[in-house]
Subunit: 661 residues, 2 copies
Amino acid sequence: MTDKQDKQFQKTSLLDKVSRPEDLQGLSPTELNELAGEIREFITKSVSQTGGHLASNLGVVELTIAMHRAFDFRRDRLLWDVGHQCYAHKILTGRKAYFSRLRQEGGISGFPNPAESPTDVFTVGHAGTSIATAVGMALGAAHNRTDEKIVALVGDASIVNGLSFEALNNLGLVKRQLLIVLNDNSMAIDVTQGSMASLLSKVRLSHTYEDVRNTAAMILNHLPVIGKPMEEALANLKKTIRMAISPSRLFESLNIHYFGPVDGHDIGSLIQLFKTLSELDSPAILHVFTRKGKGFSPADTNPCKFHSTGPFEINGNGISAAAGGRSYTEAFGDALLEAARANPKLIALTAAMPDGTGLTKFRETFPQRYYDVGIAESAAVDIAAGLAKQGLRPVVCIYSTFLQRSFDQIFQEISLQNLPVVFCVDRAGAVGDDGPTHHGLWDIGLYRMLPNLILTSPANEAEMHGALRYALSQDQPVIIRYPRDKIPADTEGLGDAPFETGRGIWVRKTDSEIVIAALGAVLAEAVMAVQMLEREGIFVSLFSARFARPIDPTIVDFFAQGKTVITVEDHSRGGGFGEAVLSQACQTAQEKGLEEMKQSIGKAVLLGGEEDTFIPIARRRRQLEWMGLTAERIVDMVKKLISDGSAADLQRREFMRQGKE
Amino acid sequence: MTDKQDKQFQKTSLLDKVSRPEDLQGLSPTELNELAGEIREFITKSVSQTGGHLASNLGVVELTIAMHRAFDFRRDRLLWDVGHQCYAHKILTGRKAYFSRLRQEGGISGFPNPAESPTDVFTVGHAGTSIATAVGMALGAAHNRTDEKIVALVGDASIVNGLSFEALNNLGLVKRQLLIVLNDNSMAIDVTQGSMASLLSKVRLSHTYEDVRNTAAMILNHLPVIGKPMEEALANLKKTIRMAISPSRLFESLNIHYFGPVDGHDIGSLIQLFKTLSELDSPAILHVFTRKGKGFSPADTNPCKFHSTGPFEINGNGISAAAGGRSYTEAFGDALLEAARANPKLIALTAAMPDGTGLTKFRETFPQRYYDVGIAESAAVDIAAGLAKQGLRPVVCIYSTFLQRSFDQIFQEISLQNLPVVFCVDRAGAVGDDGPTHHGLWDIGLYRMLPNLILTSPANEAEMHGALRYALSQDQPVIIRYPRDKIPADTEGLGDAPFETGRGIWVRKTDSEIVIAALGAVLAEAVMAVQMLEREGIFVSLFSARFARPIDPTIVDFFAQGKTVITVEDHSRGGGFGEAVLSQACQTAQEKGLEEMKQSIGKAVLLGGEEDTFIPIARRRRQLEWMGLTAERIVDMVKKLISDGSAADLQRREFMRQGKE
C-alpha cells in the first residue's frame, strides 16, 4: 500500500463517522481537511453515477464544513443562492445515504429543499434570492426578538443579479447580525460577465495566497469581539486594510461592512472568521476565494463542462461522457448559425447560459454578434429591445423558468412597442431532474396575454429551422419554445411545410369524431398514440397546432364540425394552449351565432399540468406521464372518451351499434 | 404694472415663439432661463386643469432645455426612465397645444410615446429601463456604424432598481458614447430608500452651491475635448476631484466614468457639459442636482403630494384639491390599520408607493412594522418571504402593473414554499389616465397558474375588510386585487357574508337561463345591468364570484343546470377568470361524465379585455366600456343573447312562445 492509498483509506473512514453537523465538533483542523477531501471524493464518485452539479460543489466543501462548525443550523439559518452547490451541506445534514438517488424520482433534490431537512430553509434554484430572503429573515428575527444568526451564501455570478443589488441596497433596514458570504470562484475574465465580475477578477489576480492569508489574520486580530468596542475596532481595521482595487470601495459606499478577500479553502481561519463576524450587530459581507472543481482535475480545468453534468466515467481522472441523441438545444444552435449566416443583422443574447441554450458555436463563429449579460435576464430583454429599435434582429436565448424574470420587460419594452425580438426559450415544459424550481410550465400562459406576441413551438429538427426562419421574418415579437429533451428519431417528415402565422398542419386526417391538437415537442407522443390506436382499429385525427398564439382557426372549426378536441401541451393546463383554444372557440361561436358549435366546445379535453401541483423530480418522460401527455396516457384518454360514449371513433361506434341491433 | 408682472409678460411671449428644439438655437442663456420659467408656469397651469405629474416635471425644465440645445433628438436618442417627467420635452417637441387634453381620451399621454413624436423612443412608465435600453441602442449604433448620441435620463429613485443595476453592470459592453444623466432630486433622507439613496443624500448635504458650480467648471476645464488625448485628461480630472463620500467611488469601482455633481438648473453649464461629455467614446454618468417642484412653492415643499395629482386650483400658490369619493385604496388603508391593530405580527411592505397603495396612515401608526424598499418590487417580495418564514404576516402592497416585476419571486419564494404572504394589489384592471403602461390587466392570468395561490377580489368597502381578514387567516398566499377607482356608493349591503375559500355569493337568484358571474369591483356594473334589465322585464341571475382561484363549484354547476354563463372581469380575457371557469367546467364535466353539462359550456360569454389591444388613455369607465364591462354593455350582451335565441330569460321566452302559438 502506497502512502497515498493509505491516506485514501483513512479518509473514507472519517466520512463514515460524520453524518450530522454535531459530528464535526470533535474533529481537529487536520481531520476537517481530510474530511473535505473525502467529501470531495464522495461527491465526484456520486455525481459520476447519477449526474448533477459537480464543479461548484467541489469548490465549497471547506466553506460548508466551516459554516457547519461555526453555526448551528438547527436554529441559525443558512440561505443558499441558486443552491446547486449544496451537496456537501446535504452530506453533513443526514442525507449522505440518499446520494445514490440524487435528482431521481423519489430521491433527493440537487437543490435545497425544506422537505428533506429543516436545515434547508427555502427550496431554491433561481439566482439572487439569498440576500433578499436573508434580509426578510433578519427583520423577522428582530421583530421576534430572537438571536439566531442569519447567513446568506451567494456566488459571484449571482451577486450581479438585479435582485441581489436591490437587497444589498436595502441591507440598511437590518439593524442586527446578517452575514453575507460572497463565494467568489471566478475563474478568468473571459467567463465572467460585467463590471462587478471584472472588478472581482482584478482583485483575485492582484492577490497572492500570502495576501489572502494576511487579510484573514488581520480581520481576526482587529476583531477579537468580546469586550472591545466594535465601532473602534472596525475603524482601525478599515484603516489597516488598504487595497487599490478592493471591492470594499463598492460595498462600503453602499454602507455595507466588507471583509476580505480570504481563502475559502482554509477551514481553520474560516471557522474563526465566521464566529467573529457573526458577533457583529449589523450586516456584513465576507468575501472568500474558492476554486470551482477543486480536487477533481477535469472539473478544475473545465468547470463549465462540469457545471451540470450527466453521469460520466472517472478514467484515472479523465472523463468520457455518456452518449446521447441529438437535443432540441443542439438543433437550435445549428438553426441559429444557419440563420446568422443568412442575416448579418442577427444578434444573439443570453443571460449566463450560453452552453445550456446552445450558443457555444454561435459565440465562436460570431463573437461580435454575441452578448452574454450574466445572470441579468431583465436587462437582457431590454438590451434586446434597444437593439431592435436600431433595426437589428436580436435573438434572446433564456430558459423558460428564468425568462419569468423578464415578464415585465417583455410586456413594456417588447409587446407594447411591438419590437421584432425573437425569444428562443429552451427548457420549456417539464424539465426532468432539476425539478420544481426549473420547470418551464407557465410560458404560454404568461406571454399569450400580451398583445403583439406570437408563440410557436417546433416539433422536430426541421421545424426548429422553420420556426426560426419564420420568426426572423416577422415584424413583431415571436417566442419559440422547446423542451430540454432529445428530438424524437421518427417524426415522419413532419415540418417540411413552412411556418405561417397561426397555422398548424395535419398529421393524420380521418373522419373520426376525435381530433387531437398537439403543440410542439409532445406531438411525438401524440403520433405514437395515434399509431398505437390504429393497431387496435381506432382511427383518430391528429393536428399539429404549431402556434399557441394566435390559435389556428382550423382548430376552432373542429368544434363547428362537432368534434371532440383533445389538446396536448407540455404546459400547465391553467393559462395554457388548451384554454386559449376553448376561449377562442366560445368567442367565435358567440360572434357567429353558431348554436351547434357551442354544444361541442364543452366536450374538449385539455391535457396538461395540474394547476395545484408542483411536478416532482423525475425523468422528463415520467413527468409527462403524470401530466397525461405520454402516448400511453393519450391512448387511455381516447379509449375513455369512446367508452364513455362522449365521443367515439366513427367506424367503431357504427360497429358497436350494429352489434347491439 | 409691477416689475414682476412685466417679466411675466415677456416670458409668455418667449414660449409663444418656441415649439420645436430648433427654436432654442437663437436664444441667449438669459432667454433660455426665462423660457424655463415660462415652461414651468405653463406646466403648473396646465396640470392644475387636467391633473398629471407636477413636481418631477417642474424639476427637470432646465435639464430638458439644455439637452435639446446640446443634442439633436431627431437623430440622437433620448431614453426616459419612468417618463412621467417628460412634459417640458413634449412642450419643446411640438406638443404644447395638446396639453389641454393631457392624459385624456384622444389627447396626449403623460408618458413618452413614439406615436406622438419620433423624439420619444420608447413608450415607458415602469422604472429602471432607460439604461438597459440605452445599452441596447448604443450596441445597435456600433453594429450599424452610426454616430448618433445616446442619452439616458434616470432619476435617483429609478437607479436603485435591479434592472438599472444589471444594465450598469453591463455598461462595459458598450465601447462608444453613451451618456447617463442621473437626475438626483432626493429631497431628504426620510423620503429616499436604501443605501444608494442615503449615499446620494449625504453627497447632496455635503455640497454647497459653490462646490457644485466648481465641479462643473472643473469638468469643463479638464475636458476641452478637441485635440487633447482623452485618457490623460480623464486621469487628471479624477486626480483633481476628490470627495470623501463621492458616488464616484461606487461608479468608478464598476469602471464607469462618473462626473459631478453639478447644478441641474444651470442651463449654460449643462449645455456645455452635455456637449463635452458626449464626445467621450465610452459610457459616462453625469450626476445633476435638481429640485422637485422647483418654482411652484406648494409642489416644492410637498413634492410627494404633487407627484401625481388630479386637477387643482392655484390660489396664490396655495392649492385646494378637487373633491372626490372614497377610493378602494382608502378603504384598504383603513382595513389594513384595523387588521394591524388586531394582529401584532402584521408587517406592511411597499416598493416606493406608500401613498398610492394607501399605506400613509399605517406608516404613521406602526412605523416599526412598515418597510418601503424603494423601486425594488422583486426584493420586496423576497423580503416578505423571509418575514413569513419567521412566522410574521407580511402584507405586500404593490400596484398590479409593477408587481409584474415580481412574478418569478412570487413563483419561487412564495408559491413553491407555500408561504402565507398577502398581496394587496392596487391598480388592478383598467387604470384610467396613466394608460397602457399602467393597466393591471394580467394579474389573474399570471398568478392563477401558480400552485397554492388564492386570488380574491372585493367588490366594496365591507368586502375589502372581509377579504383582508380572510387573507390574513389563511395558511397560504393570498392575492387581493382591486382597481384605482371610487367605491360605488350603492352596493346593497353586499359582502356582509364572511369570505370563504373559493365561495362566491348570490346577488340576484332567479330561474333565468342567464347567470352573470362577476368578479370584484365590476360587480357594481353588473348590479346596475341587472336593475336596468329588470326595468324592462328581464330577470337574470347575478352571482358575485369573489374568487378567481379557486373557482367556486357553484359557478361550474351553472353549466350542469344548462345555464348560459356570462363572466364579467376587469382583466384581459386571455388568461382571466372567465377562461378559468371554462376550463374548470370542461374538466368537471369530463371527470364526472356529464354529457348534458358539456353542451352548455360553449354558451359561455367571457367579458374582458381583448387579447390583441392595448387599451388607450381615457377615463376608467370609458375603458371598461371598451372592454364590454359597463352596465350598458352588459345589458346589450344579455339582450343579444336573448334575441339570438341562444339563451333567454325564462319568463320572457315563455311569453314569446305563447305569443307565437
